[in-house]
Symmetry: C2
Amino acid sequence: MELREFELVQRIIKLLDIKEVDDCAILPFGNEYIVITTDMLHKSTDFPDSMTPWQIGWMAVAVNLSDIAAMGAKPCGVLMAIGFPRNISLQFFEEIINGMNACAKRYNTKVIGGDIDTHQELTLVGNAIGIVQKDLIIKRKGAKVGDLVCVTGNIGDAAAGSVALEVLKNDYNIPDNIRNTFTTALFEPKPRVKEGMALAKSKVVTSMMDISDGLAISLHELARINKIGFKIYWNRVPILKEMKDIFNLQKLLELVLYTGGDFELLFTVNPYKLEHAKRACNFTVIGEVIENGVFIEINGVKEKLDDRGYEHVRQKVQKL
Amino acid sequence: MELREFELVQRIIKLLDIKEVDDCAILPFGNEYIVITTDMLHKSTDFPDSMTPWQIGWMAVAVNLSDIAAMGAKPCGVLMAIGFPRNISLQFFEEIINGMNACAKRYNTKVIGGDIDTHQELTLVGNAIGIVQKDLIIKRKGAKVGDLVCVTGNIGDAAAGSVALEVLKNDYNIPDNIRNTFTTALFEPKPRVKEGMALAKSKVVTSMMDISDGLAISLHELARINKIGFKIYWNRVPILKEMKDIFNLQKLLELVLYTGGDFELLFTVNPYKLEHAKRACNFTVIGEVIENGVFIEINGVKEKLDDRGYEHVRQKVQKL
């Protein structure tokens, strides 16, 4: 019998007596929290052939730093366990290390250790440690009815990247420079470390998580945890102009709402203190917290937003 | 071209600019160090068919806690990334979780998070976080000529466990109760967390590491790092009496010195302060630190100790 994924996660959480689900696990140390996260990536699911080894290394670090960013924490170090097939070349291996190193450095941290082992399938399991003052940490729990819903950056670029990769199989006419923007968004995601820390410092963010699994599924997750609902306005969701030129509305909705891959932050803000948050970083208000249900208004019509995203066990249950 | 393992590790250390190699990576926090480690285990290398899922979970936690113990630190939490084949049962999966949980609890810590994903091969990548006062941490570096060489527990039980498993293929007559002792040592290793912390508190240990890769290879590693040598006395190495009844000298040497799997601590002590250390925990003095070379005296004859152990990339380069 194949494992039912939802049941599996519920069982783990129960067996381990885990009370709160966040982007990172949290350990108290004096006036601060150490936050810590791990993510398993591997060839068949996460590293398409068109991805360079440098990008594989970058991604394996970035995915962990994005979890640190989602708590408003400052990254302190990254460990990486690498399982590699015996037939990969030293050059390929070194490029993975270089990509890891570049991503860690870009976010002012360092790969400080790890483990290597031969493995049937190329497998990278990173873990990142961060630190944040106790009074500044931002959790998934905390959103209140009336709060504003916000996102950093543009949504859908990474999803468009996965379309751009299927160039020979699809009908979209994507200019080369735009194709490059999309695939870079997909393969070299930029975790919002600086933004996460600045938002934490603003003290007006009530809940936060990253949306690497997709915007819709993340909204549903925040709604469940906070026992609230959301109303999102499609015309406020920040989308690259070129996306709108290339894709029709139906495809756009799919890419922007349900596909995932963007390492952006989704967060809620006390509406009376929006100006404080705006001083922290650039972001877009896309809707508001309501009492029940997750809805999107598209061209004046209010619709239910589906609870689905990147179709993958990992993504559904990212943190135990 | 197959990767040459030694070269690979040297390249990683150079590319990442890692200065010191220890059982854990070390992060300073005020008057304390956070120590952190990761270990990748997977089916084809680490989980023989005779291992229960509970033991798989136990092992994946224990191997990380042993690294924490080797720095004299107190474990604060464990994360576990699990890649599982789609065909494993919910019961099998739950038993892995139960084993993880039992091991963490046994050492007064907790599995606080992780990641799950489907994977071709059952793969468990744990990471553990520990804390230790800055003035108490014990590193691999620090051994001085004249120091005494010590080990906790008995050496070779886990190695005998791997022989005991091959019962139909080998000629050794191992009584059932002893077989059980050996296989339990192999599959349910007990990391020396309490002993590591007590030795750190004693402040008289000059260097330490765990010997899960084998006694001989660990001695060579400590010798390299400290630019010293060792003289070990075979008749002082603590070996279970039943081992001597079952195996001849040649096989015993192989199992005790070169096979590995025991989660014991190897450490050096200032000879004038041995009594302080003895108040910390039980251990055995097996030799002394000399200027050069790694030797063992067997029945009055001094021989070179080979630089070999558990034949596996991971073990050779356990920590980057």
